[in-house]
Structure formats: structure tokens, C-alpha cells
Symmetry: C2
Subunit: 382 residues, 2 copies
């Protein structure tokens, strides 16, 4: 199978190397930015790749929605299989690409967009064909896991943990998408689409790790708890999709707590299979490239679909899930939340709420923050 | 795809239910023991199934090498795809079945034979096509993990842990294959065949959990260590395959230590992908059935091969791996092992050896036991 690659950055270089080394795969032309075509195998035009009848598949590792969407659509229309690592693209335009692939009878796979080397979407797609997927979740952002693990293990504060992650290349110069939870949210959107044939596109509840302090972490440790940023997704009995990202406090003996540094852990529960946990490197040149090349092998074996052509966009409804929440807020704001337990910590109040719907808790905290209160919260794992 | 099932025991019933519920699959005739064909869908002859041209695939969940081997060979010769959960069969006759399947151009998959619901062999086969697999391992026997976890958490002794596992249906009346490590060994044999195209068939090093006492576990706990029965497999730089089973002492924060009760954890390290860990239920009606039905879906998508037709039998050579070993033995036998650390515990000696080749350590302990000494040992994770 001859494969052209769109993009020659960190992941693109890894994909090209792995294609050249893999039995049964051959590297075709590689699309680079205008002016960067300094070698014969590099071209600057998608048309050249689409017109090359010897190319069987196209890998997109450029990032961003455009021009990635236009380029990959063109490749699919030209009858090429498509593989991408681009979660922003699939979250925004996955259903259109899935329909186009189905019309053309070619493959469209995107394992590397969710969990890097962790074979999450691949296994989820296969499991969902014969088992009912009861729930999805896990740690799907390595940057924030690295930062939380550093804060937990060395007692460093949020700013130092972020600077350390940036120095090691685990966090971007602008870390917003990671620390806000948006990156993890896009991944659980894709997992819901694969498991339930429904891509949640609005109605999300999103809380990242920006509010956690070294003092908070010290409090959790004293209680034997570990903080992790988790995603959750699923389908309620009446067909409503939920999908949210928020910090969780977990027992130190939980599998999530054993996920260290920048590793990812994806989890699904099948009605028959039970809980399946998948752990590995969620990012990086070769881990991500390995997922891209696995998808190419999978297409060579005959697989075509990860997101069905019938996949529809829906609004998430996170009112179907409830949690008790650990919360730290100004003592003066105590009445804003129904607290089952509370203790004073100077001018701060630390406590645990009664069970609250995820939507309710996120709305209450938003209102508190708009009134100027600094609030941290994390769901308690029951 | 119409599927006939050979065997209607615990797993067989689950497979039949899942086939009937799955889109795209249809249940054909089911082979039962002579005299048990009390319903029209049950037959007692493999010939009847092989002669049925409407049957596309045959699932074997009878267990044992014969008549399973003769029956599955007959099905393959009749041009049916074959899926099995039978590790004894694949360990003994996998290469012959793989050759026959390749000759006939049909599928032969056996995910359920290794790790139950854990999608180990499936992902390993896919990864091995484009990545070099540097090492294999994990916890591949749920019975012994359940027993060790019980001993660790409640302080119970070996006999009580075994009786509890038997009462809960996690251990057989004759638990030898589980507690000796033989069951786990068969699974790492299959994983080596999938990853390296070489099925190790002799030269194994095998130590189970029969020698561990409640006093041993108390000692480990005082040092913050957790005991697990692990498999290891891999290929040395010069192409020698190693495959062994032995207890390991691990840090309480290790991923292996977080695998509780009767769960399994499979692990592989890809040169590009890095470490991938897969955790789930290693046995039970529906978890095992889910793996069988996943293989059927995989065949429907076009996959044919998990073990290649070129797979050759080799002797394992475990002299390529070395460990430091924790050991408990009669104080009078202290000179039988090169000890880097030691402490007296009444008439017993507890210590840690210098690094020793796996083969060397297993041979030394065998000699000690033959001379009547009671010895426990476990590798120390470095």
C-alpha cells in the first residue's frame, strides 16, 4: 500500500520513517508548506497527490481544521483511504469525512487522534460491534497528568509544574487547550461517536486543572487521595449522550492513580467484556506515529470504518450524571453549595457537597467565579 | 456471517448468546456431546457442521487438544474460518492450524486463549506488523492474582486463599495448572508466537505461587512490596526467544500492584509505541465470549492471521535474562545462593541474591528442593 503524508512536522516525520520501515507499506509524496519542498519526495500541492493513481492512502498530520479538511476531503473523493491524527478536525468535521469515505468505499480511521499510542478507538470500534458499551472514560491528556503527578510527588505549585512541563516539551507555549480540559474533551467526543454513533457537539461540562494549588494537593495527600483530570462519556438509558471533563479525587490504590507522568489511560465498560483499561504514551513523535501506522495496517487487512456514515451530531446532556464534589472556596460563600461535610482553613472553606448533577455543579461554580470567588472543585469517586 | 460453535459449556453458552445478539452474525448448529442433542440446533457430529455450506465460521470452545484439534482441522479443510479460546490447543497445534488456514485462505484467530476479555493478542498482532516488539509480559492468570491479592489484603494463608478462590469459582477443583504457572506459561507461548513468529515449546522456566506463606507476605508488606505472578517473554538481540513465569516483588505504586482480584494485565513494549498496558477480566463466561465474538467481527472486516503460517517451534533460552531474587530458605542452606543481603528469621534465612540468570536461579532452587529444603523465591523488579 502506497501512502502519501500531509504534513512533515513532529508526527509527520515519525510516520514517514515508520512507513518506510514497515513491510507492505511504501512512502509516496509528502505535502509540505509552500517553499519547503527541498527534496524530490516533497510537494506543495494536494492536487499532485490526489492525481497520483499509485497512491492508495493519505495520512493527515497537519493539525487544525483547515486546510486539513479540504485536503482530506479531496483525497477521499479521489478514492484514497484516509488516516488522521487530528482530533480538532475529526471533532469538527468527522461525520462529513465518514460519509464521504463510505460513499467512496474507502477507509477513514483516526486512532491517533485519541490517546496517541493507546489503541483506544480501534478497540472501542471493534467492541461496539458486538457488545453494548456502558461507559467511557479515563485520563486522555498527558500534559495535565504530568503536571498533577509532579505537584503530587514534589509538592510544587501549579506555575512551577507548568513551567517544568513546558521545559520538557510536554506542554505548549500556550497551554490553554491542555490545562482547560479542551483537548481531553475533544477526545471523549470522538470516543462517544465511535461507541454510540452520536458525536456530542454542545452542552459540554468542562473544568480543567487551572484552579488547583499546592495547598489543595497537600490536603488531598493527607486524606490518602490523588487528583487526576478525567473524562467521562456514555449514553443514558433513554439515549442521551453525556460527555464531560473534570478533576477527580481518587484512592491512591485506584488504577488511575497509578498512571504516572505523561501517560494516558483509556477505559471502557462493555456489558459482556466488563471493564477494559488501556494505558500508554498519549503523545510524542513515535507513539503517535505508531497509531497512524497501525490504522494503515488495519486498512490493509480490510477495515474501513471507525465512525459510521450514520453518525449524527447531538447535544450532550450532563444532567444525567451526579457526583459528590470536594470543594475549596471562600468561607463567605459557604451557602452557595449544599455541603455534607465542611472544615474551615483560615478564610477558606473546604468541604464535600451532597450529590449534585454535573451540570448543576458546573453552573454553580461558574456563578461563584463570576462573583469574584476563587473556587476549586473535584468529583469524589464513589 | 453464520457461525457454528463446538462446545456448549460455560464459554460456549455465552458465545451463542452474543452471536445471536450481534448485528451481522447468525448462529448455526452447535456441537454437543453425544446424547446431549436435545434441541434442533444441537448436533453431535462435526461432519454435519463441515458439510453445511451455509456455515462461514466455526468457534471451538471445548477445551483440550483432542478432539478439538481434529474438529478444527476438519472445519478449516472445509473452508470455514476458525476461532478458538483454547490455549492448550494453540500451544500444542497452533502452527499446523495456522498453515492449514493460510492454505485455505480463511481466518484463524485465538484472542480469547490469552487474557480473556483483554484484547492482548489482537493488538499485539497488529502492532507487530509495523513496530518491533521489544518485550512482553504481565499478569495472565486471574486465579493466582486473586489468591495473592487476598493474601496481601487480609493476611490469609495460602490454603485459605485457595479454598476461597475455589468457593467463588475462580479456581478449579484441581488448581495445579493455575498455581504452578502452567496456564500463564501457555499464554506467553502464544504471545511470543504472535509477536516473533516463533512458538517456544521447551526450555521454559516455571515457578508458581505454591511456596508462598502468610509470613512471607507479611515480610514483603513491611518493605512496601507487593507480590504478583508475572510472565515475561521476548527476543534477544541474537534472535533467541525467552519465555518464563515466576513471582515478582513490585513497588506498591507499580501498575502491576494496582491489578486487583482476578483481573489480568497484559503488557508489550513497542520500539515506537513504547509501553502499552491492557487490563481487564481474564476469564468468565461473557468476558471470554466477548473476545471470541470480537475475533469473528475482525474476520468479517477482513483479518485472517494472528499466528503466521511461517511460525516455527523453538526452544526458549531463559539464560539471556537476569534478576536479583528475594529468597527465603533454611538458614543451613545459605551457601547454595550468592546473597547480596541476608537476615535471619529464626531457623530461616531471608535475603536478596546477586543478579542471576533465570535458568541458573530456577536450577539452583530445584536442586535445593530435591535435597528437601523448603524454598520461596521471587524476582525483584529493578
Amino acid at each position: 500500500m502506497k501512502v502519501s503524508v500531509l504534513g512533515y512536522g513532529t508526527v509527520g516525520v515519525g510516520v514517514c520513517e515508520m512507513i518506510e520501515a514497515a513491510e507492505g507499506l511504501e512512502l509516496g509524496k509528502v505535502l509540505v508548506r509552500p517553499g519547503k519542498a527541498d527534496k524530490p519526495f516533497k510537494v506543495c500541492s494536494i492536487e499532485e497527490i490526489c492525481a497520483d493513481e499509485s497512491v492508495d492512502a493519505v495520512v493527515e498530520v497537519m493539525g487544525g481544521v483547515e486546510p486539513a479538511y479540504s485536503y482530506l476531503s479531496a483525497a477521499l473523493r479521489a478514492g484514497k483511504h484516509a488516516v488522521t491524527s487530528n482530533k480538532a478536525l475529526v471533532a469538527a468535521r468527522g461525520p462529513e469525512l465518514a460519509k464521504l469515505a463510505a460513499e467512496k468505499g474507502v477507509g477513514f480511521l483516526f486512532s491517533a487522534a485519541c490517546g496517541g499510542a493507546v489503541p483506544f478507538l480501534h478497540n472501542l470500534a471493534l467492541a461496539a460491534e458486538s457488545d453494548r458499551i456502558l461507559a467511557l472514560g479515563g485520563i486522555l491528556n498527558g500534559t495535565t497528568n504530568f503536571m498533577l503527578d509532579s505537584m503530587q510527588r514534589s509538592g510544587m505549585d501549579y506555575g512551577d509544574a507548568l513551567r517544568q512541563a513546558q521545559a520538557l516539551g510536554y506542554a505548549e507555549a500556550d497551554p490553554t487547550a491542555d490545562v482547560s480540559g479542551l483537548d481531553a474533551l475533544r477526545k471523549i467526543m470522538l470516543a462517544c461517536a465511535v461507541a454510540y454513533d452520536k458525536l456530542p457537539c454542545e452542552g459540554f461540562s468542562l473544568e480543567g486543572i487551572e484552579s488547583v494549588t499546592a495547598a489543595d494537593v497537600k490536603h488531598f495527600q493527607a486524606k490518602g487521595l490523588v487528583l487526576r483530570l478525567l473524562v467521562r462519556g456514555g449514553e443514558s438509558g433513554d439515549g442521551r449522550i453525556y460527555a464531560f471533563v473534570q478533576p477527580y479525587l481518587l484512592a491512591a490504590s485506584s488504577p488511575e492513580a497509578s498512571v504516572l507522568q505523561n501517560f494516558n489511560m483509556a477505559k471502557y465498560r462493555g456489558e459482556n467484556a466488563g471493564d477494559i483499561l488501556l494505558i500508554g504514551q498519549g503523545a510524542g513523535r513515535y507513539p503517535t506515529a505508531s497509531a497512524v501506522v497501525r490504522d494503515l495496517s488495519d486498512i490493509a487487512h480490510g477495515r474501513r470504518t471507525m465512525m459510521k456514515a450514520s453518525c449524527e451530531r447531538v447535544a450532550a446532556d450532563n444532567s444525567v450524571c451526579s457526583c459528590r464534589y470536594y470543594v475549596r472556596l471562600p468561607a463567605a460563600c459557604a451557602d452557595a453549595l449544599p455541603l455534607a461535610e465542611k472544615e474551615l482553613d483560615g478564610a477558606l472553606l473546604r468541604g464535600v457537597t451532597e450529590p449534585l448533577a454535573v451540570t448543576d455543579m458546573h453552573a454553580r461554580v461558574k456563578a461563584l467565579r463570576e462573583s469574584g470567588a476563587a473556587v476549586f472543585f473535584a468529583a469524589m469517586e464513589d
